[in-house]
């Protein structure tokens, strides 16, 4: 049976790994290649590496090549992708999938274009979301600075129609706080589309991962702060999930 997945999220800024809260106040967390190798040795199922500072593109590409050459698992790379050429460059560097966010909203046809060239499974659309006062969820772009007016379920359905392979769903409100995922958000999106949804933003304790899958109906879980700032590791999380009955790969 197809397994649920545990995916560490690595954010890169000016060539260094960083982690923040609610998309700001970033702290340095190491070198991409070292961090990637640790996750690899701990048996992560995949890695997502996002460049949140596209002005350091060249450095980022070098680092991606290093990671791809040394970590033998599926890599999703994103950050500042604007067109098909950006995608081609990343694929050449060793990406298996690309993550697009701002430009998915700006030029939705880019989703279809990438899917046509590389296959739907290569397109991850990253959706960052804030909860409004009326309880609805609004999609934000440009590193959580630009409200789009789009409602999350409506956008998720559109993204699926356009040919995306997966959705990386992040709660801006919960991100970095380690107080749990927004389970309601996960559920409404996961139930609305047939695409796999990767839960992101808020993982703080072991139960959160199981809840994201069982209550939130996500297909995969990702974590950033938890893995950087606590003593929880991919190994411990996998063990916990397995013992909780989750259909996840055994550690090898």
């Amino acid at each position: 049976m197809l397994k649920k997945r545990l995916i560490p999220l690595i954010l890169v800024k000016s060539g260094r790994c960083v982690k923040g809260k609610n998309f700001s106040t970033f702290r340095d967390t190491g070198f991409p290649i070292t961090v990637a190798r640790i996750y690899d040795s701990q048996g992560a199922d995949e890695l997502i590496i996002l460049n949140i500072d596209p002005s350091s593109k060249e450095k980022f590409l070098e680092e991606i090549q290093e990671v791809a050459d040394q970590c033998f698992m599926p890599l999703t790379i994103g950050g500042g992708i604007q067109n098909i050429n950006d995608v081609k460059i990343l694929m050449k560097k060793g990406a298996d999938k690309v993550s697009i966010n701002t430009y998915a909203v700006k030029t939705p046809s880019l989703i279809t274009e990438i899917a046509k060239s590389f296959g739907a499974q290569a397109v991850v659309v990253s959706i960052d979301v804030k909860k409004k006062e009326d309880g609805k969820y609004e999609v934000y772009t440009q590193n959580a600075t630009n409200p789009t007016g789009l409602e999350v379920v409506e956008w998720a359905k559109k993204v699926e129609q356009l040919g995306a392979g997966e959705i990386l769903l992040t709660s801006i409100d919960k991100e970095g706080l380690m107080e749990g995922y927004d389970l309601e958000l996960l559920k409404i999106v996961s139930d609305a589309v047939t695409l796999p949804v990767i839960a992101a933003g808020g993982a703080g304790k072991m139960d959160d991962f199981v809840n994201a899958l069982n209550v939130g109906h996500a297909s995969a879980v990702s974590a950033g702060s938890l893995l950087n700032f606590t003593d929880q590791s991919v190994i411990k999380i996998r063990k916990f999930m397995k013992e909780a009955g989750v259909n996840i790969r055994d550690r090898t």
């Binding site: 049976m1 197809l2 397994k3 997945r5 690899d40 048996g43 199922d45 791809a68 050459d69 040394q70 033998f72 698992m73 599926p74 060793g94 298996d96 296959g119 739907a120 499974q121 392979g165 047939t194 796999p196 790969r249 055994d250 090898t252």
Partner: protein
Amino acid sequence: MITIIDYGMGNLRSVQKALETLGAEVNISSKKEDLKNADKLILPGVGAFPDAMNNLRERGLFDVIREEVIDNKKIILGICLGVQLLAEKGYELKECEGLGLIPGEVIKFDVEKYKLKIPHVGWNNLINIKKDCPLFKNFEENELSFYFVHSYHFKTRLEEHIAAECNYGINFTAVVHKDNVYGTQFHPEKSQRAGLKLLENFINI
């Protein structure tokens, strides 16, 4: 020397890096002499069956591969699209002749009947494993999880050529083995430790 066959399609570098990490001597080539001189061959692949067969023929590789594998009994490993090319026929986009190294044909998952999303993408575990296949040496059964990305699968004509299956709607062939011909539907170079272990077993055949 293990030669990874370059026919313009496939993530050659990932396969090369994985093998080099394991200490193997590897080169990537589309030249007849290199294929002839290799101890083992790897046929990678990402993309569509007809394009791949076209590329193989255009580069004069169709005959070379058949000669090396059939006449000279060279050991070969097909990966993903590469394992599908080992078949007699494929039906992706149109009916197309394959390398014919293992009897059988390549067909699409029955999406309607089994309510499947394609491609089959993600980690999945092997079942009905033939433990004496050299690729599975020293593996515990629960270690045999690998990363799959495909919409078509290899239906072998003979059951004896199936070395392991996997379940996605149906039980489909995940690993083939016939004498010196091996193939995996999954990507061992993307399957972390399990994948590297399988590749190491291949290196040591």
